[in-house]
């Protein structure tokens, strides 16, 4: 006995025309391919802008001497990082700055260190210093676990 497979045509149905659906699919594909913008590897470093008119950002009485970090341009795109609070060699880069600040931070377990983590740190920046260096130094101070960090222009009084 011969069984023949019944097609849609045999049953009186028209074969499904996929052309228009394919058109739509390709249009969607082109749209997504052109507009795709994949997730970028960016994050944020939270900060609080200093407000000269709102009072002092530091609320720890008595007033404490801030650690002042001065950034000035060096060569074309470089930066000179200088810590003014204490007499120390000028750090060459943000990594050395981090190590220095980290070693200065008061450690409750060992009882050693010069500054509390809440000690204000003021980053004073010359106008020509690249934003890259400003954020890099700010990140280094946060890395050293200081919590009260501000960025001000060099011509302003911190």
């Amino acid at each position: 006995m011969h069984h023949r497979r019944h097609t849609a045509r045999d049953r009186g149905l028209q074969p499904l025309n996929l052309t228009s659906m394919l058109d739509v699919c390709f249009l969607l594909l082109v749209f997504f391919a052109l507009t795709a913008s994949f997730a970028i590897d960016e994050g944020v470093l939270p900060t609080e802008l200093p407000d000269e008119g709102r009072g002092v950002a530091v609320d720890a009485p008595p007033p404490v001497e801030p650690i002042r970090i001065v950034l000035t341009p060096q060569n074309t795109d470089g930066v000179r990082i200088e810590v003014q609070s204490v007499h120390q060699p000028v750090p060459a880069n943000s990594e050395r700055l981090y190590l220095m600040l980290d070693s200065w931070r008061f450690d409750q377990q060992t009882g050693q260190g010069l500054f509390d983590a809440s000690n204000p740190v003021v980053i004073r920046v010359s106008g020509a210093v690249r934003w890259q260096h400003v954020v890099d130094v700010y990140n280094a101070v946060l890395r050293a676990k200081y919590t009260n960090v501000g960025i001000v222009g060099n011509e302003r009084d911190a």
Binding site: A33, S37, F38, I40, L45, A128, R130, N139
Partner: protein, 141 residues
């Protein structure tokens, strides 16, 4: 035909899932890349982005100041910054906990970024997040 349709559907699903439409707020630029970055993931609902794009024709100059990725463009002039402050002030009225993500090109000098920070402060917003590259390979120690 069927297998081609399968591939097309797979590609569509891939693009739908992988596309980040929020990235429209982040036009392409080179943001700062700190050494051992502590930057946190960027998903604050009460934050709005200000982009400072470098001018490709004039190195060291801001080409555009974009609030929310193009919904507001402000020139780097006194009037433009005053308009930016006004826009931010209006936003802060609607959203008191407003924070601003400052996303600036790494090549810009600080004196081109500072006026924008001042404009943000003038709007009464002091909580600012500096956008930087995340630490490659995971969280910084």
């Amino acid at each position: 035909m069927t297998s081609m349709l399968d591939v097309v559907f797979l590609l569509i699903i891939f693009f739908i899932l992988a596309t980040n439409f929020a990235a429209k707020d982040v036009p392409r630029m080179d943001t700062p890349e700190p050494n051992v970055s502590l930057a946190e993931q960027w998903d604050k609902p009460n934050a709005r982005v200000i982009n400072l794009l470098a001018d490709p024709a004039a190195p060291g100059e801001v080409g555009e100041v974009l609030l929310q990725g193009g919904r507001g463009s402000y020139p780097m002039s006194a009037q433009g910054l005053a308009d930016l402050t006004e826009s931010l002030y209006q936003m802060r009225q609607r959203m008191p906990a407003l924070e601003i993500d400052v996303r600036a090109d790494r090549s810009l000098p600080y004196d081109r970024v500072e006026p924008v920070l001042d404009a943000i402060k003038a709007a009464g917003i002091f909580r600012v997040n500096l956008v930087a590259q995340l630490q490659r390979g995971g969280v910084a120690p």
